[in-house]
């Protein structure tokens, strides 16, 4: 079984809710480019997906799954067996574009207008379930948040749940629009829209220095969200620190260190 360096971690104030981030990848995709990604979300090295798997999926599911496939492609993740991994996804305001179109048709036409895919593909669990089904992950899968505070809810729930269960690892998938789109009522947006996702591979903490954690002190709200910050970090390869105050006290801190290196198992 592979082990990971401890360069990047999530940790609670009392050090009991800690985990390392073994890999992460971020993707930003304009709405008009989503069709291509929907047809082929992976890389050449990605595991094969069921045919037309994302045909009815929400935009955030498409980008979220693509981000997971890119994080999986990191060289040090090549030997990881993901079969028992869990997946937790925290989309923000999933399904707005499709809901506007569906509601239009529903009010005009009634029951026959409703696609049977609306509930399974646009409810809060849709992103985590799609990742679980696509990649054959048999650990727990569930959605978290769904509203404006999804990132904080996702980070907290992932920390908590990883400790509560015996899974070898868990994907945390954060998805959002960079600016919430205004629906055109036909499934598109009248405003420019870029769909974004970060996939974080979380593994149980093995001790060592902390670079990502929940701390008890107060901080100011960050200038940008975690997904946007990670996109910048990944593009220039730098290390740094991102913090988010929690409404109930303390803050979450994500401090990205040197790139993760896989070590041989003892």
């Amino acid at each position: 079984m592979p082990t990971y360096s401890q360069a990047t971690r999530v940790r609670a104030a009392d050090d009991r809710l800690a985990c390392a981030v073994a890999a992460h990848a971020t993707l930003r995709v304009p709405l008009e480019a989503l069709g291509t990604l929907r047809d082929n979300p992976g890389l050449d090295s990605s595991p094969p997906l069921p045919p037309r798997f994302l045909r009815h999926a929400d935009e955030q599911t498409v980008v979220g799954l693509a981000a997971v496939l890119r994080a999986m492609a990191a060289p040090h993740m090549a030997r990881v067996d993901f079969a028992d991994w869990g997946v937790l996804a925290a989309p923000r305001l999933l399904g707005r574009l499709s809901s506007a179109a569906t509601l239009n048709k529903f009010v005009e036409v009634g029951v026959p207008a409703i696609s049977p895919h609306v509930i399974p593909q646009h409810s809060l669990h849709a992103v985590s379930s799609a990742v679980s089904v696509a990649l054959g992950l048999h650990g727990p899968n569930f959605g978290i948040g769904g509203g404006p505070e999804s990132t904080a809810e996702g980070l907290l729930a992932a920390l908590t749940f990883l400790r509560a269960t015996q899974v070898p690892g868990m994907w945390l998938v954060l998805t959002e629009w960079d600016r919430e789109p205004t629906p055109d009522g036909q499934g598109g947006s009248v405003t420019p829209a870029v769909c974004c996702a970060s996939a974080l591979a979380l593994v149980p903490d093995k001790g060592g220095p902390t670079q990502l954690r929940i701390r008890a002190t107060r901080v100011n709200r960050p200038a940008q969200g975690l997904v946007a910050w990670l996109a910048d970090q990944e593009s220039d390869g730098s290390s740094g620190r991102w913090t988010l105050p929690l409404s109930w006290g303390g803050h979450i801190e994500f401090a990205a260190g040197a790139p993760m290196q896989q070590r041989k198992a003892a």
Binding site: A12, D14, R16, L17, V87, L93, G95, R96, S99, A100, L103, F106, V107, E108, G110, V111, P112, A113, I114, S115, P116, V118, I119, P120, H122, S123, L124, H125, A126, S128, S129, A130, S132, V133, L137, H138, G139, P140, N141, F142, G143, I144, G145, G146, G147, P148, E149, E153, L156, A157, T160, F161, A164, T165, E180, P181, T182, L246, S247, W248
Partner: protein
Amino acid sequence: MSMDDQVWITGLGAVTPLGNDLRTFADNLLAGRSGVRANELTGLATSLHACTASVGVIPPPRDWSPLDFTARNRLEQLSLTCTVKSLDDAGVWDRRESLRVGLVLGMGAEYLRVWELDILAGGRRVYEPAQDSQSIVHRIHSDLGLRGPAVAVAAACASSGFSFSLAREWIQSGLVDVCLAGGCDLITPMAYAGFFNLRALSRYAGDPVKASRPFDRDRDGFVMGEGGVVFVMESARHARRRGARAYAELAGFGSTSDAAHMVIPSTDPQPASHAIERALADADVDPGDVDYVNAHAAGTPVGDRAESRAILLALGAAAAHVPVSSSKSMTGHLLSAAAAVEILACLAALERQAVPPTINLDHPDAECSVRHVPNEAQAQRVRVTASNSFGFGGSNVCLVLRAA
């Protein structure tokens, strides 16, 4: 684990098709009364006639401003009422601002429901993103002055099952003193239409109370229900120190994924069986120690068979003796709130020392060969219960309760 570290359920707030308090709910459940009725779903150009288990007008919390309450959408009303009632029942309502109180609610499709309710009321919220500035859990958290974390969780029909695991972990890791856990969901016209077009709903045309028929060979889908249940949970140490009443211990949690299909349960019983096995192991109980299994069994032909195979596999030889029933035969399927209302059914079994029946079980499906409790409750010793919840996307959850 020491007894002090156990996590107890010490309060509950319910709005369900079988009643809004444990006594009424247990009376109806054990008497085999159905909450399913013929209803009209309004708000469309034409009304929609449906068999559902509805809760009607949601009662506001005690002493809450009626004006404020009616200004909220129905999903928020439901969540608020259940949350306040639960804190009140546990005896911590007046102390909630001096404790670190967390909030975890199973809510699988909050925004789909809220955007729909708004459109049907003449609004345009789905077109105006600025209106979505705060989710329901965060608004309740803020309105009640709670001082712990708050999240919504979703795993389709297993949603509220996850709330118990997170709440227990927050308590045991010291993040909170007390945590609210549960789930709420509504019947809306679009949700009804979505499930109808998925061919997941019963199309039974006779007496509505006969429509929900889990495990019966003539079942043809589930009946939608609505409602919510929110529980107060805390450590045994904390509960004892303040002299709280304990309904039960949340003793075990197990969860897996089928990883097979976005809607259809896996034909392989292993993943669901593993969820049950992990919950029993977490509770440190053997299959033979289980006195009652509240099945997910919604009444779909595929789902009930898949669950039966999983129960038989997980319980092994003990399956011949462990009674299994589906309270959805009476409550309908409460979707995101299903796991929560079925924990309430397990509390009723523990309190009354009786196992609730599966009503309308006249001809058990030969491929659902668990030990049924057909049509009439069964008096017996109940110390340990297990409750299954399975959701779209292949989520499998099992929760184990033990008498405190």
